[in-house]
């Protein structure tokens, strides 16, 4: 690929790009906090407001760190991390990617958990979310599949590019983790308040006949918005 123009230099002449760049960088920085909407409203060209923004970012960052419960299981074969994400956090993330309001509203109906998986073995580790079992004291809980999300997006005619971005933020439903490979993404369930357990089983070895790895996470909860 040839590199005919320096896109960064072109920012200087790009329509409103400089201002929007600053706005987007700020939104990007705060996308993990619960104050995105407030931030975006506050954003303006005045230096005073920008200073206020920075202070608020620092404050909300501290709060969100304190509020986030991170679940980690690690053994010599695997490390798996689960981080519950609040509706406001996810809304901020997708708003930052310019998702329309009806799509944001749809995401609010689900609980999001960011998953990180690291295959620490020297062999293949098989991810298959059909081998993940979630249950609370009363019933089993189903993961919302990519196909189900596609149907939801179809109902609101979400433009393809947003569907694509959303899809890539989800954890793959099946994957042959190579030795040392790390991948991550979100899983989603219907929004609920009761705690639940998750048992994840991974087949191992190229032929899937190695000793399965079973991880159990207890007492997971959907993250609530800080203002609730």
């Amino acid at each position: 690929m040839k590199l005919p123009l320096n896109p960064y230099k072109r920012l200087l002449i790009y329509n409103h790009a400089d201002t929007r760049m600053q706005a987007q960088q700020l939104i990007s920085v705060i996308s993990n906090s619960g104050y995105s909407r407030l931030m975006k409203t506050l954003y303006a060209n005045s230096l005073v407001l920008r200073a206020l923004l920075l202070v608020t970012i620092l404050f909300s960052s501290v709060q969100s760190v304190a509020a986030t419960t991170k679940h980690v299981i690690e053994n010599p074969s695997i490390k798996m991390v689960i981080i519950p994400r609040s509706a406001e956090q996810m809304a901020a993330f997708y708003e930052g990617r310019e998702f329309p309001a009806n799509a944001i509203a749809t995401t609010r109906e689900a609980c999001f958990f960011t998953i990180g998986i690291h295959n620490k073995t020297n062999d293949i580790l098989w991810l298959d979310t059909q081998q993940w079992y979630l249950n609370n004291k009363n019933s089993t809980i189903s993961l919302i599949s990519k196909e189900q999300w596609k149907q939801r997006w179809g109902k609101i005619n979400l433009p393809q590019r947003f569907q694509s971005t959303f899809r890539w933020t989800l954890l793959p439903e099946q994957l042959d983790f190579q030795p040392g490979e790390r991948e991550g993404g979100n899983i989603t369930i219907a929004r609920q308040h009761d705690p639940f357990n998750l048992v994840a089983t991974f087949n191992t070895a190229a032929d899937k006949k190695g000793t399965p790895i079973r991880l159990e996470f207890k007492n997971l909860r959907c993250a609530e918005d800080t203002e609730q």
Partner: protein, 174 residues
């Protein structure tokens, strides 16, 4: 023994063997498969098409600004592109489904010399079925994917450019 040593030396350090036995971190040889179509415009509106029967290998990379490893990896890819500017390797850096504003602000901050291709609706990325983002493929001159690269890599390290430079143009990858 003295007669065997030179032979061993040749076998061990033969470039073709180095490629297969000592792949740089993250690069995996796969059973070759035909690369999906790729024909996209860059930020200047110029169209780039991945061709079969070309005279060069192609480095196809999918990324998005929201992906943490992409932010870390993109400067290294920029350095690799610069380091290999005189080599017969074509780079197809593909942004997945983001707006030009987002791409401008991201690349302006982390890799200002990269002029990415725009997969505006994300459908090209869907066809390639990457394991996740970022994802990189090495496509031979015949248009077959020969290697996949898992996760973000430190492309600025010489072992990667050395590996890319010795990829055989005659397609005979074992």
């Amino acid at each position: 023994m003295k007669k065997i040593l030179p032979l061993l030396f040749i076998i061990i350090f033969s470039p073709s063997l180095l490629a297969e036995s000592g792949l740089p971190k993250g690069i995996i040889k796969i059973t070759p498969r035909i690369a999906p179509a790729l024909s996209l415009e860059n930020m200047d509106g110029e169209k780039f098409t991945l061709k079969t029967n070309s005279s060069h290998w192609s480095f196809v990379h999918f990324w998005a600004s929201w992906c943490g490893p992409c932010r870390k990896e993109m400067p290294a890819i920029q350095k690799l592109i610069q380091a290999m500017s005189k080599d017969k390797l074509k780079f197809f850096i593909v942004n997945t489904a983001e707006s030009e504003d987002t791409i401008f602000s991201f690349l302006g901050a982390v890799a200002p010399d990269i002029n990415t291709l725009l997969d505006r609706d994300g459908l090209t990325t869907e066809k390639w079925k990457p394991r996740g983002l970022p994802s990189t493929y090495l496509v031979d001159p015949a248009g077959q994917i020969q290697y996949v690269v898992i996760g973000g890599q430190e492309w600025q390290k010489p072992q990667y450019s050395q590996f890319l430079r010795q990829l055989p143009i005659n397609n005979k990858v074992n």
